[in-house]
Symmetry: C3
Subunit: 119 residues, 3 copies
């Protein structure tokens, strides 16, 4: 049993780790697009770029995604979110995913993404 | 580290894998009851039957469920959902579970279930 | 592959296990504060105390938390919940976390917490 922990998520309070690695499994904190204008495409792209950076910290990458939870504040944004998501994922190595609608921690956040990946 | 991936979930767009297996852990995509009338018992039963089929693809079964997330669109359906759930689960090998209320990707979906299982 | 299962969560119906242990990973059922008055600080504290007790059953503790999902029914309670959370977590060993807003199984529940930990 080996656990490694990494800095709190960017822009978040001191409530959590940003990345936790346990054996071969990587857990990332739920990501929101802090400081990004409330445009679903821009916020989704900003979060996915941050996920790329965070996975690189622990020697992983988007081709090793296992599972994804997405919360969006309005399903009216679903198709546009999926466009950005589809352009980003590795089509040969897609994670499982669930997406539901929920209000998020601040009204300017339109989407939050939480992922689990393999090391 | 070994990852295996399986076809996108039935009836879903090309956004995700249906099943991802990592070492001894199986992740299934969030399941909705596409094409099933908006009856909570029928939708729950359809999803659980599909989970049985998906687990069989990777040599697992409902007795190896680890964790379950359930989203329902209205807690008025909670008791009826639980009736179907309780009749389905292996009483000697129940997973942990959380169930909350959230709007889902299409108005005809009353329930979405996402599970993690052991191989 | 080894799975161990423990009693249904306290106060819940016969729908789930309270704790499932798979190899080195511990899954706890989503916790609500049954019978606690609808005060976010009291409910959060009650749930976290119960998580301490449940982790002890399987030889773990809050310093081994990996990932946390929190659902609150109103983000007006977010700051007060975080105060209790921050006083409880081991600052050197924080889990990843996502918190979104969702209605819960009964109107008196203000918060539900689901965690994954290492053995």
């Amino acid at each position: 049993m080996a656990i490694e922990r990494f800095e709190p998520r960017l822009g978040a309070g001191p409530h959590m780790s940003g990345i936790v690695v346990h054996n071969d499994t990587i857990y990332l904190a739920g990501q929101v697009a802090r400081g990004v204008e409330p445009d679903i495409r821009k916020q989704t792209a900003a979060i996915l770029a941050n996920i790329d950076r965070q996975l690189a910290v622990v020697g992983s990458c988007k081709s090793k995604l296992l599972s994804t939870n997405i919360w969006i504040t309005d399903f009216a944004n679903f198709a546009a979110m999926n466009e950005v998501w589809n352009a980003w994922i590795d089509p040969d190595n897609m994670p499982v995913r669930a997406c539901v609608q929920s209000p998020l921690a601040a009204p300017e956040y339109l989407i939050e993404i939480m992922i689990t990946a393999a090391r």
